[in-house]
Symmetry: C2
Subunit: 183 residues, 2 copies
DNA sequence: TTTTCTACCTAACGATAGGTAGAACACTTG
DNA sequence: CAAGTGTTCTACCTATCGTTAGGTAGAAAA
């Protein structure tokens, strides 16, 4: 599954064959079928773990905060944990974000329960920013998650500091582009 | 090309076969080779037009503004034009955003010049928000474009008002989540 | 009227995809 | 040691992929 996640992340769902995965695992293709009944099942397992990983990372980061931490500090912590899971923690979450849009609808649906559970965390976090207004919240939750996920397409953690990125994005999202110029 | 763009957008690069495109076009597969030398050339043509379309849309929207319009109003206008191109104007831009990450590196590289030209517009727009600081700019340009593009994965223009979305995202990006609660 | 071009066609190619059947190996347990 | 069980193997299948070869009807050009 580690190998599959890394390959899916790098080259996409349809472009990665079971032969590719088996070869890197030091196996023959049919041997994979002992562990997974089909390519679909394998990719679903990778996708679900991708959400589980980031959800646990964010939950743990929030749990480590002092209980009286204010809403915007909690939000910043969650953003940093999410970015860390995306860019460093494992290939599962990044594979999920990368290939979700490439999957046939049936496979996408199989990942939706996990995704909704994760979105619920962000709904709680973002609720104070819009006085609980459900229509605004319904836009802000996917917007913030989507904006963070989009960093996967342009940020290279090998060439930039991930914490600096988290700081800067946190500032922009919380206070907007309008305030403070540089630094 | 219209058909190819729509199918790429809906189902991804590798999942769309030349047979699929030809069938919808009312042709046999090899007939496509009269118009395009290969699948790669076809997809490159679609990708490049996708950026051209949104660049012209944004440029035109900015040109229609009074010349003395201040920086943040110009930014809001550009955001709205970008969202419109993504969600309504044509399938080329949305296909580009959807499948860029799925392409083999060689095809991605073929689209980079167009992309850089488009990013230059946003660098101009965003420069006033960070006093021209190049490091901050290098993060903010892909961040804003990425955040807008990510709406493709969750916003359905058939079920929500695109202008309302543009307004709300413009407010969040310009003034942040911290200010004004609801509405 | 002869030639060339445009826009398609049918037939088939080699490569590769996901998947199956069943034999062979490896390790634990009686 | 023999049996059983878990794991990987060889060999092969069918479907589909992008692509090529060679040809054809009709419009345009000479």
């Amino acid at each position: 599954m580690d190998i599959a996640a890394r390959q899916f992340r790098a080259r996409g769902y349809a472009a990665v064959s079971l032969r590719d995965i088996a070869t890197e695992a030091g196996m023959r293709t049919p041997s994979l079928y002992y562990h997974f009944p089909s390519k679909d099942d394998l990719v679903i397992a990778v996708m679900n773990r991708g959400i589980t990983v980031v959800r646990k990372a964010v939950t743990a980061a929030l749990a480590a905060l002092p209980p009286e931490t204010e809403a915007f500090a909690r939000l910043g912590t969650a953003m940093r944990a999410h970015l860390r899971a995306l860019h460093g923690l494992s290939d599962y979450t990044s594979a999920n974000v990368r290939i979700f849009g490439q999957l046939p609808e049936a496979l996408r649906r199989a990942n939706l329960p996990e995704r909704r559970a994760y979105q619920a965390i962000w709904a709680d976090l973002l609720s104070p920013t819009c006085a609980g207004n459900p229509e605004v919240l319904a836009v802000r939750v996917p917007f913030v998650i989507g904006a963070l996920n989009a960093t996967l397409e342009w940020f290279d953690p090998a060439r930039g500091d991930l914490d600096a990125l988290a700081d800067q994005l946190g500032r922009v999202l919380l206070t907007g582009l309008k305030e403070q110029g540089g630094q």
